[in-house]
Amino acid sequence: MTGPRAVEDEQTVPIGSNDDVVRARQTVRTYAQQCGLSLVDQTKLVTAASELARNTLVYGGGGRMRCATVRNGARVGVHAVFEDNGPGIPDLDLALTDGWTSGSGMGLGLSGARRLVDEFALHSEPGSGTKVSVTKWAR
Protein backbone atom coordinates (compact mmCIF):
# COMPACT_ATOMS: atom_id res chain seq x y z
CA MET A 1 0.00 0.00 0.00
CA THR A 2 2.78 2.44 0.82
CA GLY A 3 5.42 2.76 -1.83
CA PRO A 4 8.94 4.15 -1.49
CA ARG A 5 9.01 7.38 0.44
CA ALA A 6 11.38 10.21 1.02
CA VAL A 7 11.43 11.73 4.45
CA GLU A 8 12.79 15.30 4.65
CA ASP A 9 13.53 18.02 7.18
CA GLU A 10 13.08 15.88 10.22
CA GLN A 11 12.83 17.76 13.49
CA THR A 12 12.66 16.35 17.02
CA VAL A 13 10.68 17.90 19.87
CA PRO A 14 11.28 16.48 23.35
CA ILE A 15 8.06 15.98 25.32
CA GLY A 16 8.62 16.38 29.03
CA SER A 17 6.13 19.01 30.14
CA ASN A 18 2.79 20.61 29.27
CA ASP A 19 4.72 23.36 27.50
CA ASP A 20 6.32 20.77 25.26
CA VAL A 21 2.89 19.52 24.24
CA VAL A 22 2.09 23.06 23.08
CA ARG A 23 5.41 23.16 21.21
CA ALA A 24 4.68 19.81 19.55
CA ARG A 25 1.32 21.15 18.31
CA GLN A 26 2.97 24.27 16.92
CA THR A 27 5.71 22.29 15.19
CA VAL A 28 3.18 20.05 13.49
CA ARG A 29 1.15 23.08 12.41
CA THR A 30 4.22 24.62 10.77
CA TYR A 31 4.91 21.44 8.81
CA ALA A 32 1.24 21.14 7.83
CA GLN A 33 1.22 24.69 6.49
CA GLN A 34 4.47 24.19 4.61
CA CYS A 35 3.11 21.04 2.97
CA GLY A 36 0.02 22.90 1.81
CA LEU A 37 -2.54 20.92 3.79
CA SER A 38 -6.00 22.48 3.66
CA LEU A 39 -7.15 24.36 6.74
CA VAL A 40 -9.46 21.51 7.75
CA ASP A 41 -6.69 18.94 7.28
CA GLN A 42 -4.23 21.09 9.25
CA THR A 43 -6.74 21.30 12.07
CA LYS A 44 -7.33 17.54 12.05
CA LEU A 45 -3.61 16.72 12.06
CA VAL A 46 -2.69 19.22 14.79
CA THR A 47 -5.56 17.96 16.94
CA ALA A 48 -4.38 14.37 16.51
CA ALA A 49 -0.83 15.44 17.40
CA SER A 50 -2.07 17.19 20.51
CA GLU A 51 -3.80 14.02 21.72
CA LEU A 52 -0.76 11.86 21.02
CA ALA A 53 1.76 14.25 22.54
CA ARG A 54 -0.33 14.44 25.71
CA ASN A 55 -0.41 10.64 25.91
CA THR A 56 3.38 10.54 25.51
CA LEU A 57 3.66 12.88 28.47
CA VAL A 58 0.89 11.57 30.72
CA TYR A 59 1.05 7.81 30.12
CA GLY A 60 4.52 7.41 28.61
CA GLY A 61 6.14 9.55 31.30
CA GLY A 62 7.63 11.77 28.61
CA GLY A 63 9.41 11.07 25.34
CA ARG A 64 9.76 12.80 22.00
CA MET A 65 8.03 13.65 18.77
CA ARG A 66 9.76 13.47 15.42
CA CYS A 67 8.10 15.41 12.64
CA ALA A 68 8.98 15.40 8.96
CA THR A 69 7.80 16.12 5.46
CA VAL A 70 7.16 12.93 3.52
CA ARG A 71 6.96 12.44 -0.24
CA ASN A 72 5.55 9.57 -2.22
CA GLY A 73 5.78 10.27 -5.92
CA ALA A 74 3.88 13.50 -6.43
CA ARG A 75 2.22 13.39 -3.06
CA VAL A 76 3.46 15.35 -0.11
CA GLY A 77 2.41 15.01 3.48
CA VAL A 78 3.37 15.32 7.12
CA HIS A 79 4.63 12.39 9.12
CA ALA A 80 4.86 12.52 12.91
CA VAL A 81 6.09 9.86 15.30
CA PHE A 82 5.46 9.93 19.08
CA GLU A 83 7.76 7.73 21.14
CA ASP A 84 8.31 7.02 24.79
CA ASN A 85 10.03 4.41 26.95
CA GLY A 86 7.12 4.21 29.35
CA PRO A 87 5.10 1.22 30.54
CA GLY A 88 3.59 0.43 27.13
CA ILE A 89 0.01 -0.58 26.40
CA PRO A 90 -1.02 -4.11 27.41
CA ASP A 91 -4.15 -4.35 25.23
CA LEU A 92 -4.00 -2.35 22.01
CA ASP A 93 -7.57 -3.10 20.90
CA LEU A 94 -8.90 -1.90 24.23
CA ALA A 95 -6.77 1.24 24.14
CA LEU A 96 -8.16 1.98 20.66
CA THR A 97 -11.75 1.68 21.82
CA ASP A 98 -13.73 4.93 21.87
CA GLY A 99 -14.23 6.03 25.43
CA TRP A 100 -11.76 3.65 27.08
CA THR A 101 -9.23 5.29 29.38
CA SER A 102 -7.02 3.89 32.11
CA GLY A 103 -6.72 7.38 33.54
CA SER A 104 -9.04 10.34 33.72
CA GLY A 105 -9.21 11.24 30.05
CA MET A 106 -12.14 10.94 27.70
CA GLY A 107 -10.69 7.87 26.01
CA LEU A 108 -10.87 9.54 22.60
CA GLY A 109 -7.20 10.33 22.06
CA LEU A 110 -5.99 7.21 20.27
CA SER A 111 -9.24 6.28 18.52
CA GLY A 112 -9.97 9.89 17.60
CA ALA A 113 -6.45 10.52 16.33
CA ARG A 114 -6.76 7.45 14.12
CA ARG A 115 -9.89 8.88 12.52
CA LEU A 116 -8.26 12.27 11.97
CA VAL A 117 -5.26 11.12 9.94
CA ASP A 118 -4.71 9.17 6.72
CA GLU A 119 -2.28 6.60 8.13
CA PHE A 120 -1.98 5.46 11.70
CA ALA A 121 0.28 2.85 13.30
CA LEU A 122 0.54 1.95 16.97
CA HIS A 123 3.33 -0.22 18.36
CA SER A 124 3.76 -0.97 22.00
CA GLU A 125 5.55 -3.54 24.10
CA PRO A 126 4.57 -3.74 27.72
CA GLY A 127 7.65 -2.66 29.63
CA SER A 128 9.46 -1.03 26.75
CA GLY A 129 7.43 1.88 25.54
CA THR A 130 4.99 3.04 22.93
CA LYS A 131 5.36 4.40 19.41
CA VAL A 132 2.55 5.97 17.43
CA SER A 133 3.09 7.12 13.83
CA VAL A 134 0.68 9.20 11.83
CA THR A 135 0.67 10.61 8.31
CA LYS A 136 -1.61 13.14 6.67
CA TRP A 137 -1.33 13.80 2.93
CA ALA A 138 -2.05 17.05 1.15
CA ARG A 139 -4.94 16.66 -1.32
Binding site: N18, D19, V21, V22, R25, Q26, R29, L39, V40, Q42, T43, K44, V46, T47, S50, E51, R54, D98, G99, G105, M106, L108, G109, S111, G112, R115, L116
Partner: protein, 125 residues
Protein backbone atom coordinates in the same frame (compact mmCIF):
# COMPACT_ATOMS: atom_id res chain seq x y z
CA UNK B 1 3.36 28.71 35.09
CA UNK B 2 1.46 31.26 37.19
CA UNK B 3 -0.08 32.56 33.95
CA UNK B 4 -3.88 32.74 34.07
CA UNK B 5 -6.56 33.51 31.54
CA UNK B 6 -8.32 36.77 32.50
CA UNK B 7 -12.02 36.58 33.34
CA UNK B 8 -13.91 39.84 32.69
CA UNK B 9 -17.25 40.82 34.14
CA UNK B 10 -19.76 42.45 31.82
CA UNK B 11 -22.96 43.14 33.73
CA UNK B 12 -24.33 39.77 34.76
CA UNK B 13 -22.00 37.90 32.46
CA UNK B 14 -18.47 36.57 32.85
CA UNK B 15 -16.48 36.83 29.66
CA UNK B 16 -13.41 34.79 28.83
CA UNK B 17 -11.58 35.20 25.60
CA UNK B 18 -8.97 32.53 24.97
CA UNK B 19 -6.27 34.20 22.93
CA UNK B 20 -3.43 31.71 22.75
CA UNK B 21 -2.69 28.01 22.57
CA UNK B 22 -3.01 27.10 26.26
CA UNK B 23 -1.13 24.41 28.09
CA UNK B 24 -3.25 21.93 30.02
CA UNK B 25 -2.69 23.31 33.53
CA UNK B 26 -3.89 26.77 32.49
CA UNK B 27 -7.01 25.19 30.99
CA UNK B 28 -7.75 23.47 34.30
CA UNK B 29 -7.10 26.65 36.27
CA UNK B 30 -9.54 28.52 34.05
CA UNK B 31 -12.26 25.98 34.76
CA UNK B 32 -11.73 26.42 38.51
CA UNK B 33 -11.52 30.21 38.29
CA UNK B 34 -14.82 30.37 36.45
CA UNK B 35 -16.64 28.33 39.10
CA UNK B 36 -15.16 30.57 41.79
CA UNK B 37 -16.12 33.76 39.99
CA UNK B 38 -19.69 32.64 39.24
CA UNK B 39 -20.28 32.22 42.94
CA UNK B 40 -18.40 35.34 44.06
CA UNK B 41 -20.09 37.62 41.50
CA UNK B 42 -23.50 35.98 41.21
CA UNK B 43 -23.11 36.00 37.43
CA UNK B 44 -25.97 34.39 35.51
CA UNK B 45 -24.03 33.73 32.34
CA UNK B 46 -20.59 32.78 31.05
CA UNK B 47 -19.33 33.42 27.55
CA UNK B 48 -16.20 31.62 26.41
CA UNK B 49 -14.87 33.11 23.20
CA UNK B 50 -12.75 30.63 21.24
CA UNK B 51 -12.49 32.66 18.03
CA UNK B 52 -8.70 32.64 18.30
CA UNK B 53 -8.42 28.90 18.95
CA UNK B 54 -7.02 26.99 16.01
CA UNK B 55 -7.72 23.62 17.58
CA UNK B 56 -9.86 22.19 20.35
CA UNK B 57 -8.67 18.76 21.40
CA UNK B 58 -10.36 16.37 23.82
CA UNK B 59 -8.76 18.11 26.81
CA UNK B 60 -10.07 21.56 25.97
CA UNK B 61 -13.34 20.05 24.74
CA UNK B 62 -13.80 18.41 28.10
CA UNK B 63 -13.08 21.69 29.88
CA UNK B 64 -15.81 23.37 27.82
CA UNK B 65 -18.30 20.58 28.59
CA UNK B 66 -17.34 20.58 32.28
CA UNK B 67 -17.60 24.34 32.57
CA UNK B 68 -21.08 24.22 31.02
CA UNK B 69 -22.12 21.54 33.52
CA UNK B 70 -20.52 23.24 36.53
CA UNK B 71 -21.98 26.64 35.76
CA UNK B 72 -25.42 25.12 35.25
CA UNK B 73 -25.19 23.70 38.77
CA UNK B 74 -24.29 27.16 40.00
CA UNK B 75 -27.31 28.60 38.17
CA UNK B 76 -25.42 30.21 35.33
CA UNK B 77 -25.64 29.42 31.65
CA UNK B 78 -22.51 28.96 29.50
CA UNK B 79 -22.26 29.81 25.82
CA UNK B 80 -19.22 29.04 23.69
CA UNK B 81 -18.81 31.51 20.85
CA UNK B 82 -16.62 31.79 17.78
CA UNK B 83 -15.94 28.15 17.02
CA UNK B 84 -14.29 27.82 13.64
CA UNK B 85 -15.81 25.48 11.06
CA UNK B 86 -12.63 23.39 10.90
CA UNK B 87 -12.73 22.99 14.68
CA UNK B 88 -16.35 21.80 14.63
CA UNK B 89 -15.58 19.32 11.85
CA UNK B 90 -12.56 18.00 13.75
CA UNK B 91 -14.36 17.70 17.09
CA UNK B 92 -17.09 15.56 15.56
CA UNK B 93 -14.54 13.30 13.89
CA UNK B 94 -12.65 13.06 17.17
CA UNK B 95 -15.87 11.75 18.70
CA UNK B 96 -16.80 14.76 20.81
CA UNK B 97 -19.96 16.58 19.87
CA UNK B 98 -20.29 18.73 23.01
CA UNK B 99 -23.96 17.89 23.37
CA UNK B 100 -24.42 19.84 26.60
CA UNK B 101 -22.67 22.98 25.43
CA UNK B 102 -24.60 25.88 23.94
CA UNK B 103 -22.93 27.69 21.10
CA UNK B 104 -23.34 30.89 19.13
CA UNK B 105 -21.39 32.14 16.14
CA UNK B 106 -20.38 35.49 17.57
CA UNK B 107 -19.93 37.23 20.88
CA UNK B 108 -22.95 39.47 20.15
CA UNK B 109 -25.16 36.48 19.44
CA UNK B 110 -23.90 34.72 22.54
CA UNK B 111 -24.67 37.70 24.75
CA UNK B 112 -28.09 38.10 23.13
CA UNK B 113 -28.83 34.44 23.79
CA UNK B 114 -27.95 34.80 27.48
CA UNK B 115 -30.01 37.99 27.71
CA UNK B 116 -33.05 36.26 26.20
CA UNK B 117 -32.56 33.36 28.56
CA UNK B 118 -32.42 35.62 31.57
CA UNK B 119 -35.61 37.34 30.53
CA UNK B 120 -37.34 34.00 30.25
CA UNK B 121 -35.94 32.73 33.54
CA UNK B 122 -36.49 35.82 35.65
CA UNK B 123 -39.56 37.12 33.89
CA UNK B 124 -38.02 40.60 33.61
CA UNK B 125 -35.86 42.24 30.99
Amino acid sequence: MSERVPVLKLGQVLLVSIQVDLEDQIVLDLQDDLAERIVSTGATGVVIDITALEIVDSFVGRMLANTAAISRMLDAETVVVGMRPAVAITLVELGLSLGGVRTALTLEKGLALLERDRTVRTGRP
